[in-house]
């Protein structure tokens, strides 16, 4: 009887072999870039197969590094192909731009996100902010948001040090970590709404 | 320890001089005197020296210091009977040194030398195979324990001849005027050394003397065993002369062929390592 883990591993490795076969046959750079993104998925599957809390902790950094490489490669692709044009148009709905509703709706979402805290909370609060930015057609202050993200990340890391060196203050550390990741995820996701258009105009 | 260091520098340079002499005699040339490399150091150290205007100064000078330092470290590892892994690491790092020499000056000749050194990266893998086969046979990588193993079971040269051949080829690929010395072939003036003149070049030659001594010494220690000093030096000389014969009788390969041949050798060595691993 084959164990479930071995079966899963076999299937994931088979997928990996398929992707690599495709990668070796493909010569168009853009398509290869897309295929490489597909390589990430079986690799995450292999990590996920571990099936413990640790696996969850391992997937996140793996995913982050993968996405970082992906972004860097896409940027180089744009540079080397000389593709400089970016979409100019934005969502412009005058009714929404003038109304108060988006403000209220996003306020509700942000408040609910803060109540939830952590990853999910960050996601929901970010949704509210994205909605606000898109509806108002506003340009968010990138530098300010980046600074906020950086500080909250430092808070998150600091919380981990509290866990390691002063475990008796765990409640404080949990709160700090939850708050840190909330702000971090919120800010990072809300940048997605503002990444269009000319950079730094 | 200081005595060994000085001996290594002088004897290594002497070996390189003998290398040139033997090659010359095989090719029916008179050849330079055998202490030519020692004279070279003296000559270069008495030249006016500066750092080229286009060079990346810190790297240009720093790489000379690093070159001498890593091979001093390698010699100390061999003397102390330390880990073969460290020796292997230092050997691979010599590639970075060549790269640094070539690229730091901005000269196209040096750059080509450095890039050629980088593309012949396959030449290190036989050493790794040799190291891992030794580990499989003796169960250790510390040189003194390997020597003790040989005292009990006979020299590794007889137990694992292909590993010895692999290391021999590794030493060959670092010898000047050999089939694989594309990094300093004459169409690149002097390859990666082109722009290092005066005392920088003298420092590099000190490193070369040390390197030759360390590699040959490690070969004798690892594959034959502990010997009295005079016999060790004699055996090193014998191995060097055999290397000189190979260098004198083979043409320098083109960069492409050199890399291809090194890749084929690497492939064969890997197959051998797998066979040994399965058998033991």
């Amino acid at each position: 009887m084959v164990s479930e883990y071995a079966l899963g591993l076999g299937i994931a490795l088979l997928c990996a072999v398929l992707v690599f076969a495709a990668l070796s046959r493909e010569w168009d750079d853009l398509h290869r870039l897309l295929l490489v993104d597909l390589v990430e998925i079986p690799s995450l599957a292999i990590v996920a197969l571990v099936g413990t809390d640790l696996a969850e902790a391992l997937i996140l950094p793996g995913l982050v590094v993968g996405i970082a490489e992906m972004l860097a490669l896409s940027q180089i692709y744009l540079l080397k192909e000389g593709l400089q044009e970016r979409p100019e148009g934005r969502l412009r709905i005058e009714v929404i731009e003038k109304a108060d509703a988006p403000v209220i709706l996003s306020l509700v979402l942000v408040c609910y996100g803060i109540v939830l805290s952590g990853f999910t909370g960050g996601g929901i609060a970010a949704l509210g902010m994205i909605f606000l930015f898109m509806a108002k057609g506003a340009r968010e202050p990138h530098e300010l948001l980046e600074t906020a993200a950086g500080i909250s990340w430092a808070v998150w890391i600091g919380a981990f040090f509290v866990f390691m060196f002063a475990p008796q203050y765990w409640l404080l550390a949990v709160l700090a970590a939850g708050f840190g990741i909330l702000i971090k995820v919120m800010v990072k996701l809300s940048l997605v709404g503002g990444m269009w258009g000319k950079p730094h105009d | 320890m200081l005595a060994e260091l000085l001996l290594a520098v002088v004897y290594g340079l002497l070996l390189l001089g003998i290398h040139r002499k033997v090659i010359a005699r095989i090719q029916k040339r008179p050849g330079p005197p055998i202490w030519q490399e020692v004279l070279h150091i003296l000559k270069f150290s008495f030249k006016t020296t500066w750092v080229p205007a286009t060079a990346s100064g810190v790297l240009f000078v720093g790489v000379v210091i690093i070159a001498i330092a890593i091979w001093t470290a390698a010699l100390l590892v061999v003397i102390a009977g330390g880990s073969l892994m460290i020796l292997f690491g230092i050997y691979m790092l010599h590639k970075i040194v060549e790269h640094g020499f070539g690229l730091s000056s901005g000269s196209p000749y040096g750059k080509f030398g450095g890039v050629r050194s980088v593309i012949s990266a396959a030449s290190e893998i036989p050493l790794f195979v040799s190291v891992s086969v030794i580990a499989l046979f003796t169960g250790t990588l510390m040189i003194d324990e390997i020597v003790a193993f040989e005292g009990a079971n006979g020299p590794l040269l007889l137990l694992a001849p292909p590993a010895a051949i692999a290391m021999y080829l590794v030493i060959l690929s670092k010898m000047p005027f050999g089939p694989f010395s594309i990094v300093e072939s004459k169409e690149l003036v002097s390859g990666y050394k082109t722009e290092h003149f005066g005392i920088w070049r003298a420092g590099l030659e000190v490193c070369n003397g040390l390197k030759t001594f360390v590699l040959l010494n490690a070969f004798v220690l690892v594959f034959i065993g502990a010997l009295p000093l005079w016999l060790l030096l004699l055996l090193m000389l014998a191995i060097l002369v055999s290397l000189s014969f190979v260098c004198a009788l083979t043409p320098m390969l083109s960069p492409f062929d050199s890399v291809t041949v090194q890749m084929i050798i690497t492939g064969l060595m890997l197959v051998y390592a797998i066979v040994v691993w399965v058998m033991i």
Partner: protein
């Protein structure tokens, strides 16, 4: 401002005596091989280069300037 020759002489003397000291201390058994080795790895390249530089350093300023390519 010290002359280049003098600077190199000091450096060579210093690194040379450090090398010698490490070697001697190792021989009489005060230093173990690792400690002496680390000292030697740092001091020996410095000694070699400063010694070479000492030989040819001009006693007064005014090297031939490099004119560029």
């Amino acid at each position: 401002m010290m002359a280049r020759k003098q600077k190199m002489a000091i450096l060579a003397l210093l690194s040379g005596s450090v090398c010698l000291l490490a070697g001697v201390l190792h021989t009489i058994g005060t230093f173990d091989l690792v400690a002496a080795g680390i000292v030697l790895i740092i001091a020996f390249p410095a000694f070699v280069l400063s010694l070479f530089a000492l030989w040819m350093a001009g006693e007064h300023a005014g090297d031939i300037p490099f004119m560029g390519y």
